[in-house]
């Protein structure tokens, strides 16, 4: 396999790029493990769609990281213990019919397909606790809305591009709304960890 590429991002960070985006969670987990074991010191390890950013690195730690990655292979072991979060969803989103039509399915068929999909948190961003979930096949990618909504309610389950997501709080948003998550708090500062969904977490939406 092709080894991850390290690209300097300023004086204190490395952006690590992989060819296979599906290996990002395992790569981030491996770096987190090295950090937990005291092999490298870093402030933040931030997965992206096809990269992992390691920020707050000294030159020495950057060199150790490079050595580590020269020998890294994406294995199953790192992902085996990842939590599965099941989220009950009322599929009542205003864009569900449009999404289903775009897939040439009935809404019920679209719901069944989403319910049968195991998602993985690829990365977070946009807002605290907002997770970009992958798992839908490529041909299910949906366009963002042409006009973003000025307010999307907290708990809205939505699709855009190759991703699914749940809005952790009310905010503007351009994703297609397909449902409402029931009985979960995506983000709670008083909880440890504060985010229900963190990179690597597996997710299922239950109708």
């Amino acid at each position: 396999m092709v080894q991850p590429r390290l690209i300097p991002m300023g004086h204190a960070a490395m952006l690590i790029e992989v060819d296979d985006a599906s290996t990002v969670p395992a790569l981030a987990a491996a770096i987190d493990a090295a950090r937990a074991a005291g092999e490298i010191a870093a402030r933040d390890v931030v997965p992206g769609a096809a990269t992992v950013l390691v920020d707050g690195l000294s030159r020495v730690d950057a060199a150790v990281l490079a050595d580590l990655l020269a020998e890294w292979e994406p294995g199953e072991a790192e992902q085996a213990e990842v939590a599965l979060v099941e989220i009950a969803v009322a599929f009542d989103g205003p864009d569900l019919a449009d999404v289903a039509a775009g897939w040439a399915l009935t809404p019920d068929q679209a719901i069944a397909e989403i319910a049968a999909t195991e998602f993985t948190v690829a990365f977070c961003g946009f807002a605290p606790g907002f997770a970009y979930l992958t798992g839908l096949p490529e041909h299910r990618a949906v366009a963002r809305r042409a006009e973003p909504r000025t307010s999307v309610p907290a708990g809205a389950v939505a699709l855009a591009g190759p991703y699914a997501g749940v809005y952790p709080r009310s905010s503007p948003g351009g994703w297609q709304l397909i449902g409402t998550a029931l009985g979960v708090t995506l983000w709670d500062e008083a909880r440890t960890p504060p985010a229900l969904l963190s990179p690597g977490t597996r997710v299922r939406f239950l109708p």
């Binding site: 300023g10 204190a12 981030a28 931030v46 961003g125 946009f126 807002a127 500062e189 504060p194």
Partner: protein, 307 residues
């Protein structure tokens, strides 16, 4: 206890920020100009990361409700304790009831006021910083707000004697608003997404700080940088000081409250001194972006390495 008499344009509590939560979408936040935060804290004998006040452009007026030792650093401004001009770069004693009045910034944009003992608000995820992007931490301060100050031992006399102490020394003033600010950047991970000619001539592009600049980013206008490629970049992690190139071609220099991931190419990353300098740029001020490449593969086109 400190009472805010006039919060000015934007007054927030800031420290070194909340590290270690970026993977959950939480910006680091913290003081925009870390150098000045540390200097203000050093003036009063605090730990470098003690929480302090960050005032923006128009200054701040506050009243001490108990005797207090304060230090001011950052933007140049007229500082008064009561009616008396105060010695900037030295710790100041405020008696109970006395008012500290920091005027509008005459150079620079952010002024830090440290109080001995630190501003005592409840930490959230390990930091007292106000994160204006995600709303984590204390709300921006408003006129009439009262803030507790942490416990501390009486200020040692040496603090006041040391005219060139740790905090007072080497205080460089931010550039005057009619002078350009030079920000030095290393080539970013996506420098090759920028038009090569535009990147090579970056230092000659007359950028101006936009009025829309804030704690999230210093937005540049007045010139644009073209794109070498127009495909979509998958979202990737961002760092403070990242110079991002949105479709408009007007670069954004990310400051402490930057989003944790983004989908526009990062063409450069400022060095730490330039991040502090970027935090002190006034809206309308001229900005030069200078590519200081240390990566052989990122030398501007046309530059030749001679063995």
């Amino acid at each position: 206890m400190i009472e805010i008499i006039d919060a000015g344009l934007l007054l927030t509590v800031q420290d070194l920020g909340r590290a270690g939560h970026a993977h959950l979408g939480v910006p680091r936040s913290g003081a925009l100009d870390m150098r000045s935060l540390r200097r203000a804290n050093a003036l009063v004998g605090n730990a470098p990361g003690a929480a302090a006040l960050e005032a923006t452009m128009t200054g701040v007026v506050l009243r001490a409700h108990a005797a207090l030792v304060v230090g001011v650093a950052g933007a140049a401004a007229a500082v008064f304790v009561g009616d008396v001009p105060a010695p900037v770069g030295r710790p100041m004693r405020l008696a109970a009831g006395q008012v500290l009045d920091i005027g509008p910034a005459t150079a620079g944009a952010r002024t830090y006021v440290a109080a001995r003992g630190g501003i005592d608000v409840a930490p959230v995820l390990g930091s007292r910083a106000t994160d204006t992007l995600s709303g984590i931490g204390p709300s921006p301060l408003a006129t009439g707000d009262r803030l507790a100050v942490g416990e501390s031992a009486a200020a040692p006399q040496e603090l006041f004697a040391a005219a060139s102490g740790a905090g007072a020394g080497a205080a460089e003033h931010p550039a005057a608003p009619d002078q350009p600010v030079t920000l030095r950047m290393l080539a970013g991970p996506r420098a090759d997404w920028a038009d090569a000619t535009d990147l090579a001539e970056l230092a000659h592009r007359p950028f101006v700080a936009s009025e829309r600049s804030n704690r999230v980013g210093l937005r540049l206008t007045g010139a644009t940088v073209g794109r070498a490629r127009d495909d979509e970049l998958p979202s990737e992690g961002l760092v403070v000081g990242a110079v991002q190139l949105p479709p408009s071609g007007e670069p954004v220099v990310f400051l402490a409250d930057h989003p944790t991931t983004g989908g526009y190419p990062v063409i450069g990353v400022l060095d730490s001194a330039s991040i502090a300098a970027a935090a002190q740029v006034q809206p309308g001020q001229r900005v030069r972006l200078v590519l200081a490449s240390s990566r052989p593969d990122a030398l501007p086109p046309g530059s030749v390495q001679i063995p």
